[in-house]
């Protein structure tokens, strides 16, 4: 049986589902027997999910247009230098 410390060391790989079958089984056996580690695993999984679902991906219009202007300027300068 794994200790809690050993379990925690593998927690990320466990949550990312990047472990082999035998290792995964060992970790599952541990959380089924250890309520504290079950809670840590469950709440860490929810932590990752909440960031995945609630991190907006947007860019303010003025920042986007300043980027495009800077890029156009750079492109024009490059065109000028290669003519």
């Amino acid at each position: 049986m794994l200790t809690c410390k050993q379990f925690l060391a593998e927690l990320s790989d466990f949550l990312d589902e990047s472990l082999g079958v035998a290792e995964r089984k060992q970790l599952e056996d541990h959380i089924n027997a250890c309520p504290n580690c079950w809670v840590i695993a469950d709440t860490t999984r929810k932590t990752i999910e909440v960031y995945k679902c609630h991190t907006p991906i947007s860019i303010p219009t003025e920042i986007r247009s300043r980027l495009m202007k800077a890029l156009e300027k750079k492109m024009a300068a490059k065109r000028g230098s290669t003519l």
Binding site: L8, A9, L11, S12, D13, L15, S18, N36, V39, I40, D42, T43, T44, K46, T47, I48, V50, Y51, K52, C53, H54, T55, P56, I57, S58, I59, I63, R64, R66, L67, M68, A70, L71, K74, M75, K78, R79
Partner: protein, 205 residues
Amino acid sequence: MAPEAAVFDESSLVAQARLGDTAAFTELTEKYQRNIFRLAQNITQNREDAEDVLQETFLKAYQHLPEFEGLSKFYTWIVRIAVNEALMKLRKRKWDKTVWLDEPVTVGEDSVAREIAVWEDNPEQRYSQEELREILDKAVNGLATPYRTVFALRDMEGLSTEETAHALELSVPAVKSRLLRARLQLRDKLTAFFKKKVEDPFAYL
């Protein structure tokens, strides 16, 4: 038209851009600007710095496109440029002493006492979108730079462990240990907001 024609084809756009097709580079910029801006904000924690990083990243990528060998994805390549720009910004701010990503990080005993408490099933529903954003931002901003950077790349931008290691010039085990610490620290911080409320028998008092 075949449905796959509509799929964003990164490698052919990169090839066209390398041949001098500015429209192709503009399309790549349109595609990734939001991710790079979000990443820059997460690392620098400052909107002005994030805008500078965003511009520098795409201008440098355009400038150095002939040197991009296509060994990694274009996106990973620009992420690497953005991370370097963002860390440079932080280094310029003297007060941040946790900027060096290659500093050894202890992986052993975590001295932080963890709160073990069950969360609500959909804990985020307890808060408005704005409140939730503030809670999540504050928690991430409370992480030291090496943890915050790894968390932003892995769990917010969705890079693989290997891609994150490549972008940060770290080993895979170093990325893994930082990610674990970041996730556990965030879990601790969020527990205060998301834990199940225990019925208070004296609530009527």
